[in-house]
């Protein structure tokens, strides 16, 4: 459909301007980043390294991390969620003396969520900025830059690319700290099929509506096939054009198939329209939505009468991290650094950047910090059964003492499989009209 | 059947736009080798008739025969190929092309007009271009336009544009030349020259059909006149007879110029 894609494309370039974050570490290297944003200061990045005022270890020796994400366009929120967390971590590392005495620099590459733009943005990161590690990109633009990554041996950790396209790709240079949509899709089907998880009933007749955008379509096959595998019936699988003004016809077609529950994979905007149209059309069944809608912003778009009782799926926090209070700590840190709550992919970013930087430390320990040596260390720093660590500083000191580490993250244990994928538990959420409450967890082992 | 002495025969042609009938059962002939004048008050349907004959418009009913062949429904370029050339009341020159290009455009059967011909047969194209160039030069000289040959037609005066249009028609080399007010807006000296040229063309054997408002011009230069009024033919015949026709006089005086 022309509409959504056009919007994606029209999304301009440039960068999200994280004014609140700008130039913070310049203030002398004191602990966590504070939003001191002196206007006109080193606001932003090309190399927004806090060029450590204490004129130290030559800036040529900087290690650079490129953040290759959409900062503009329809998916600009991805960049806006990931970048501040990355910056928060990097600032802290630099404040504590950097990696192997070297500063870590951050460079943004805006993919605009389009293929051409991601290629030139990646070209610039790889060849001009000469980054050592890339954080990103998103599902859509991955394919365009895959060759460039592999040829140059750039280690990549994506906190945001759930696409099934990456299921059998990666493991050498490409890793992700977000579970694949194929896992997420199975989790959705499992949760719908079993009262144990959804707290309502063993739904057996599900309608599936999927917007015609790459990040959404990725869920379609996994949900459909696993729901049937779990013994349910998909009453109708319906692709719809994203970004339309009205969805009455789509909804009546869906309702014609009499589903007990509709699994809706869509943007918050379209989902709000679709759920309203269904309400008007007299639909009385339930809804199941994905991570994109299982958030406060979505609830603000629809009336409580409609959203009351709907179900959603998010990645569950690592139970150990919850117990140890690390999630709370993380939320507080992000709030302190950015002034707002961590968004979607923030925790994945935390884990990804920690693993990446720990791999740098490990590489430095072994000899040289190069793209190759970082890539080689990424799977090992997160691999059991070595000493468990949960933060960068903990891991860094362990490595400095010569111990091998196993990073345990916020989203899960982050053990990469042969394709560089992780599995993580999921949480089933239910809306009570104004907010989401967790009603069950679904461990990865159940899928 | 058809009278081969006539180049053009129009029979019962009707053309309506919306509710208004612009041409209403008009019938007339243009005799071979004649200079025929088509006259009538404003709104009589003369220009519409030109458009009908040249295929720009299709009549609602009626017949238009060119040398006995019915051409109703044929597209303009086919009618042009069949030997009809025309000019427009407001000249439609190719403003963004040079005068020379304007003329060369009209030459028939150019190999280089096909994309493949232009790419694959450069020798033939060059030869034809040379020939066309010569004819263009002759036409330029004939119309005394050679001093502006390489200027853009955009820069020409109204009179020059009329000449250029005539030149294009000559390059097409048609049997029937239809001119829509060739002398309107042309200064008297140029008009004389234009008329001279038209007579020369007629002497070469071409048939001319003119729309003109200047009655004197028509009477002095035409050997056959067709008078249209309210979309149909009011009268036709030699100028002398037309001049005396009461209906014509009435139409012009009463019908309102």
């Amino acid at each position: 459909m022309p509409t959504p894609t056009r919007r994606t494309f029209i999304g301009a370039t440039g960068t999200t301007i994280l004014t609140g974050l700008a130039g913070c570490a310049g203030s002398g290297g004191g602990g966590t980043a504070t939003p001191t944003s002196t206007a006109g200061g080193s606001s932003g990045d090309d190399t927004s390294t806090p060029t450590s005022t204490a004129g130290d270890s030559g800036s040529e020796a900087d290690i650079k991390i490129g953040v290759l994400l959409p900062f503009t366009g329809e998916y600009d929120w991805v960049g806006a969620n990931v970048y501040p967390v990355t910056k928060m971590l990097v600032d802290e590392i630099n404040a504590n003396g950097g990696i192997d005495g070297r500063n870590v620099g951050l460079v943004r590459g805006d993919t605009e969520a389009t293929v051409d733009a991601s290629v030139s943005a990646a070209q610039k990161l790889v060849n001009v900025d000469k980054v050592d590690l890339i954080v990103g990109p998103t599902s859509l633009t991955f394919t365009g830059v895959k060759d460039l990554i592999e040829e140059n041996g750039i280690p990549v950790i994506s906190p945001s690319a759930g696409t099934t396209e990456l299921d059998d790709v990666g493991g050498e240079f490409i890793f992700r700290t977000v579970p694949s949509d194929s896992l997420g899709g199975r989790a959705i089907s499992k949760a719908i099929r079993n009262e144990q998880y959804n707290g309502i009933t063993d739904y057996s007749k599900m309608g599936l509506m999927v917007g015609n955008a790459p990040a959404l379509q990725s869920f379609k096959a996994p949900i459909k096939s696993s729901f049937e595998e779990y013994g349910g019936t998909v009453t109708n699988t319906l692709d719809y054009a994203t970004g339309k003004s009205s969805y009455q016809a789509e909804v009546s077609k869906m309702l014609q198939s009499n589903p007990e529950i509709i699994c809706l994979v869509g943007t918050p905007e379209d989902s709000a329209k679709i759920m309203r149209a269904a309400f008007q059309a007299g639909y009385e069944g339930n809804w199941f939505v994905t991570q994109d809608q299982t958030n406060a912003e979505f609830l603000s778009l629809i009336e409580p009468q409609i959203s009351d009782g709907i179900l959603g799926l998010v990645e569950a926090d690592n139970p150990e991290a919850v117990e140890a209070g690390r999630i709370e700590q993380f939320t507080a840190d992000v709030k302190a650094a950015t002034g707002s709550e961590p968004g979607i992919f923030a925790k994945n970013t935390y884990d990804g950047v920690n693993i990446g930087t720990l791999a740098m430390v490990a590489a430095a320990q072994d000899g040289d910090v190069t793209r190759e040596s970082i890539a080689a260390n990424i799977p090992t720093v997160a691999k059991p059964p070595e000493q468990d660590v949960t933060t960068y500083s903990e891991g860094a000191s362990a490595i400095a003492e010569g111990t091998d580490v196993n990073y345990e993250g916020l989203v899960g244990p982050c053990d990469f499989n042969e394709y560089g994928d992780i599995s993580s538990p999921f949480a089933i959420m239910q809306a009570d009209g104004t907010e989401w409450n967790q009603i069950a967890t679904l461990p990865a082992s159940e899928l | 059947m058809s009278d081969t002495e006539n180049v053009l025969e129009v029979r019962d042609v009707v053309k309506a736009f919306g509710g208004i009938t612009a041409v209403d059962a008009a019938s007339f002939d243009v005799p071979d080798g004649s200079i025929t004048g088509l006259i009538g008050p404003n709104g009589a349907g003369k220009s519409t008739m030109f458009n009908l004959v040249t295929g720009v418009l299709t009549p609602d009913s009626g017949r238009i025969r060119l040398r006995g062949e019915d051409v109703v429904g044929e597209p303009p370029h086919r009618i042009a190929e069949a030997g009809v050339g025309r000019t427009f009341q407001t000249p439609k020159v190719f403003a963004g092309m040079s005068v020379r290009e304007n003329l060369a455009f009209a030459a028939k059967d150019q190999t280089g007009e096909s994309a493949l011909g232009a790419l694959l047969r450069p020798g033939t194209v060059a030869k034809e271009e040379a020939e066309i160039g010569e004819r263009v030069q002759e036409t330029l000289e004939f119309l005394e336009l050679d001093h502006v040959a390489d200027e853009y037609a955009r820069g020409l005066s109204g009179g020059q544009r009329k000449l250029l249009e005539l030149g294009r028609v000559l390059m097409l080399d048609p049997e029937l030349v239809m001119l829509d007010e060739p002398a309107a807006g042309v200064n008297p000296a140029l008009t004389d020259r234009l008329l001279e040229r038209l007579h020369e063309l007629n002497d070469e054997g071409r048939t001319l059909l003119l729309i003109e408002h200047d009655i004197d011009l028509i009477m002095n230069n035409c050997d056959h006149v067709v008078v249209m009024h309210n979309g149909s033919k009011l009268a036709s015949g030699p100028p002398s007879r037309i001049q005396e026709d009461e209906r014509v006089v009435e139409a012009y005086l009463g019908g309102g110029e």
Partner: protein, 289 residues
Amino acid sequence: MADFVGVVQTLLYGLINGSVIAVGAVGLTLSYGVTRFINFAYGELLTLGAYTALLLVGMGLGLPVAAVVAVLVIGVGGVLVARVFYDPLSDRGALPLLITSIGVAFVLRNLVRAAAGTEARQLPVPLMRPWVVAGLRLNPVDAGVMIAAVVAMLSIHLLLQRTMLGKKMRATSGNEQLARVAGIDTDAVVRRTWLISSVAGAVAGVLLAVQFPPFRPTMGWDFLIVVFSATLLGGIGKPYGAMVGALVVGVAMSVGTRYVATEYTMAYAFAILVLVLLFKPEGIAGGEL
């Protein structure tokens, strides 16, 4: 029987959507009738209408008041846009105006985006259960929107047929030079046409925003294609044709989405358009304004 109700319901949805399209299409076609160029920036008037209403609501105005004020503001704004961008080119023919309007569309859309951000927004419209009659559902908001659309079109009809301005607009549309000779101040007519056309655009934008929340800065541009289809279908420059065209497009999109394939939505509007262009390029209605 149930299926019969379904068909009628689908037609009804089509007509409701068509009525909003109609308001936009009439506005577009009016400006074409007088200015003779297809305005690619027209969709932005819809967006501006919706966002202005949003802004005013945010300032504390009630929705009905905000909607009326927004429509008037954008009406005047549309005249200003025309003054700044189109008037200086008015003697250069249609093509430069058309291309200019594409540039203007870029400018307006991205200014809205720069100011309002990309996230979805909505006007405070209460959620209502539909009325159900014989199995057919009609939502009060939809009914209201439809009535508003009909009122807007009736006003335009009366304006064209019963007022001096309407007569002048029709004259200017028919033949601008003749109109000028007849003593009509065609520049003033063009200005007023811009006003009416912009008002219609803003009305369509507000109706769309009310009926189908939430919306984004691209709403008008996305809707433009539909409006184009309706306008051309009706024969551009012909308001009554645009109204009919809009209803046809609305119904076609609704029926096509429901009964043919859901993923092709706009395509139904386009397809009809192309068929009309192929077989009846002059559109389905006759006559000038």
